[in-house]
Symmetry: D3
Subunit: 271 residues, 6 copies
């Protein structure tokens, strides 16, 4: 018997969401897939909820009947303030309100390395380190980390905030040789977050078992996440096609990588 | 010669803002007072800016020519989400954008005990402890603490986030016997924050030198704030008129006091 | 109106107990004085309970009607095992059982420096440091610190464990120039422990405001204890009559002083 | 040549003791097995000592000639105070006195998770965390941890206190999926404790290499214990026959499990 | 009776040494003053030793008969490598060899803020923080801190390493408003270091009780140093004659001040 | 394409240097081998620099054209002060000056366990622990750790200081069963130090994956060093030929082993 009756996955059409859609099926009787556009063909155990996270009523309605929420929706990159505000801040508030109103037990949230992107690579921070966002995107991740803490302490809804580093099909540059989180490991991390016996409010980093390790994830060991993959198989190819970067550059110095070299998103030309 | 050319004080009509208006005059050539309604008579060194923090353009405009901002405006209590969003989240973003666009050097922000209100009284947390907000209000304080960290790390604007405990004319209940921050000490704290040689991004608790101490403020010792007042002169009167509370109640157990016993603000009857 | 209805003071005939007997009167309607022998004349607000702590029934009976207990009874020095067992281990268990059965809210317990006596003077330990007892006496103090922790976590009885250093009329040797706790400060510490708004389970060191400070008591700041006395007035006399001790001796090296140079109490000749 | 001349194993008839009896033979010339009843047939390298730990003279006599003691005897569950007192507190004192009088070099003691059972699962405590017993049984474990610290600091007898989690033939419930210590790993842990080059006074957690990890055992890495087993092979069966527990229950929230939901053992009906 | 028979003061002709010469007289029967040139008239309790610290034999000879050494000699500013090597590294080795060969009990060494000068002002480091020297001068201070640690651990000679911040007649610039150590407080600090009952190997910061505090000296509380002076009386004058510095400058950002803006001393033109 | 143009290896004729000479070839176009005597036949990619580290000009000249330096030269054991001074202190200063003048990007330095040799085995220190050298040799290692920190903070030259424990062909005694660093792992550690994307100033312990672990190297996880070897294959032979040592001996108690039992090297008879 699966652990949950119905899991809502937001961002189900996204890079990670579409992986999770496939992988989480055994954990729930039904999977509800949330996206801004219809997803096309659904499996028998799947159902669809089409709405915009900025729409409070629609978002809350979509959480009905779900005892777990895997919240991977919203903007996934640095974006103009209005986008961050609507998709990530307001949208996540709507999700937590849905969880509260409809009795979800646990939320797994896609936070990000960018929540602590301005810590130095060699600082070896743990999950308790003070926040140091590297972008408005990172600030929105801190917002949800704070909001979910409130919903645990006051309303008893458990949350796991996953500070995902770089979850891509394969490492695209030298930084990803340490920040890489394989899709398979990402799925393991979400599964662990959904099935751990007790999470309360837990923050976890999300990286594969790469050789170079830049953070200390012991504070989340009760999740039971043990990465199985590594960036090593990709090393030779990545090093062959990319130059050695200057260690003094912000994108090498700080955990957040190139986000630390971005300007303000509202300064971008709007042409 | 005063240290600043022009200080903007938001929330200038408020309980603390009106105290600061008087006290900060020696630190700047001019004081600009921001409020939602005209303030009436102004002194020679004062000028007025009437606008709503939710209005981005007006808020940014009001920061022009100010090399320091004392941001005490916005909702000062737990409030419905829309109020928190407009006045505290969006409003503070507008202030920081103003600081960035018009070159303010330093912002002093009225954060709150409610940013860490769910920590236990006997935990003796320091300023680096993970956030544990006790309300949507507290979540909005965490948002600005995160945002201001970004504006320091990326844009070089210094900030001091003051986690003010209970700044009232005198302690109103037994909890305030330890959480009390006299107006005079509050002013000392803002002055110290404005004049300390370097603050980078500093979080400081704000309490007077009360006997019972529930947090450890050493992490902010470089501000040079040394409280001069105490709740002791008020103790006898407070104890005479209030019963001994149950130490097991959330309002006694946690730093945030009665905020920890509030329900969700959007559940309040609207009738 | 006093905070407590009736405070039980154990060890009421002892050095500190007789000081507390006088000082705690304002905090309770009645003071019950526990001792092994009758105490003689009693004041109007006082009552007497004569029993041995090793007698479970008598001890439990003596706690009836007491909403607070100041437990200073038992052996106050290194002693043979059987004495430690009866007076300190079994006796304190009886006290806590009395508190549980008769609904006491808070216990203030005379723990001791000897609970952590084998930590080095220059280690500057806090109240959270692992225990390092220097004697069977110290082991019995650890026992009660552990027992009282259980009675808080499981049965909701608050406790303050006071690790008293050297509470004597005046410093008797050079070590007491740093370990001295004046009677007046000892009373302040017990009063603070009884009246602090919430203590949960708190461990506090007990020393006056002496110049040389060998431990860090910040973890107990929520008690509101602020020592007012110092060993300085006694320094000249003490230094005149005592030689400079060798810093390599255990009695100088470790917090516990001469207890660290004692052998095993059961090895003492019995003749 | 084996490392020890003679190892005394107390609790030799118990669940773990009978495993150790078989496994420790290579480490000593002779194994002395202590139990309350005769054990039946003995191997050539074995000898028997039948006595009750509450009997001081008999216990001390049984330690003669032993250069190491593996102290697994006494009550192994929450029990009435008199049992805890006699079997665990007094009994262990007798063991340490035997060690002192007869010159044992090292004691390996079966402490328990219940010594720190009221710490939260997600707190990820280390071996240095303050004690938080969940039972009188746990308090007795703290007593021996304190006593053994004294016997190291003052009398030079090394001890390893093993905070064993759940050592059973296989995991019996969902909690044991993280708290499981296989018999083979338990033996590895005792062997490591006996053979590590230096232990001084070491506290170690005892768990197999289960996926979900709830404590941080790095402080005991000098023992050289590397668990080889895991609860994973038992997971499917355990999950099939047990429901998902409520994470808010004390038995899920705290390390000590169902001990945290027990009442006081002296309140049990005696009929 | 004074605590020491004879104290050797090196650097006796220097700014601080000449203050100490006057102040330490009560602590010893005789004061031996070490300098590179004769000092002129001596008091009855004084004696003189004229030598260069780079001269091993002369330095060792000068320590004969001294049971305490106050080592304030050597280069007191950033200097070319050869000077640092001879006066500070080799010279201090000679002093410690003298202490070892002639049985001195305790050495008080003038280390410096420049031993940790590259830590940030807002980091609030303690005395245990890793070293971050800001100059070859600072490296030489780290060398002696390390050397003196060896001489304590291996040879039993106690040392106090005083990381003096800015000890001048009065604060000369805005940084000194927080780094100021009055001469009187400097003397109190050396006296405390000489008379504390046990110091083992202690590192202490040296600052007066200035408002802005940039480091945490609790780790040295067992010295019994309580500063009595403050930079506040000098604030108005200093602020009147100096501009507000840019908080982004290394000399404001880091504890070491302008040393952090110096180039390499061997690059200085020699013409 | 190799990462470096030319790596200088000092101590190239030594035990570890000759291993590195073979292993590092793939990382650079050319390898320059520094030694005090000619090395004999060179490979095509090798070049030789014969000089004494105490010779500043020669040492600096030898660094020309090298963008990385692997500094394993100098005295490798406790030695008389003059040797330590010339070979380790002055010699390393010359190396860093060469790096600064000729633009080397990164230095990998052979520090040693003896830099922290007086920490206790069971203290489980991390790389940030305060220094506690066990010899003049260890003091010289602390000197270079401090010097290299300065050259990073002020001059931007990255360094990795490797605190190598016992790098020998195989474990020679029981201590090496935990302190062993195989040659292959030593090479892995140097390779990782040369190729990690950013090291700033990193201190790392160097041990193989032995069972007994006495330090915590997490602070250096960003190097990407994962040891592959272990002392276990050598255990039986070592234990067969060596007795069990007394855990109270300094050579067993402290990380530094037998260095902690050495006297002062300048006291050795010279005859």
């Amino acid at each position: 018997m699966p652990q949950y009756e119905r899991i809502l996955i937001t961002g189900a059409a996204g890079r990670l969401g579409s992986e999770l859609r496939k992988a989480l099926a055994p954990l729930a009787g039904r999977i509800r897939l949330a996206a801004r556009e219809p997803l096309g063909a659904l499996a028998a155990h799947e159902e669809e909820a089409v709405f915009d996270l900025a729409d409070m009523d629609a978002t809350i309605a979509a959480t009905e009947g779900c005892d777990a929420i895997v919240h991977f929706g919203g903007a996934s990159l640095e974006s103009p303030w209005q986008t961050i505000l609507d998709a990530n801040i307001r949208g996540s508030y709507h999700i937590y309100e849905g969880a509260r109103k409809h009795g979800a037990k646990r939320v797994v949230y896609a936070s990000s390395v960018h929540a602590i992107g301005y810590h130095e690579v060699e600082a070896q921070i743990g999950v308790d380190a003070p926040v140091r966002p590297d972008s408005l995107y990172g600030v929105s991740k801190n917002f949800v980390e704070s909001l979910s803490r409130l919903y645990w302490d006051k309303f008893g809804i458990e949350s796991v905030c996953l500070r995902i580093f770089s979850s891509f099909p394969e490492p695209a540059d030298r930084r990803m040789l340490w920040s890489y989180l394989s899709f398979a490991d990402c799925i393991r991390l979400v599964e662990a977050s959904l099935t751990a016996p007790r999470v309360g409010h837990t923050i976890s980093f999300g990286m594969s078992d790469n050789k170079v390790k830049t953070v200390d994830n012991r504070g989340a060991n009760h999740l039971g996440f043990i990465p199985q993959d590594s960036s090593e198989p990709f090393r030779a190819a990545v090093e062959a096609r990319t130059p050695v970067p200057d260690p003094a550059r912000p994108s090498v110095k700080y955990l957040g990588g190139w986000f630390c070299e971005l300007g303000h998103p509202d300064d971008e030309p709007k042409g």
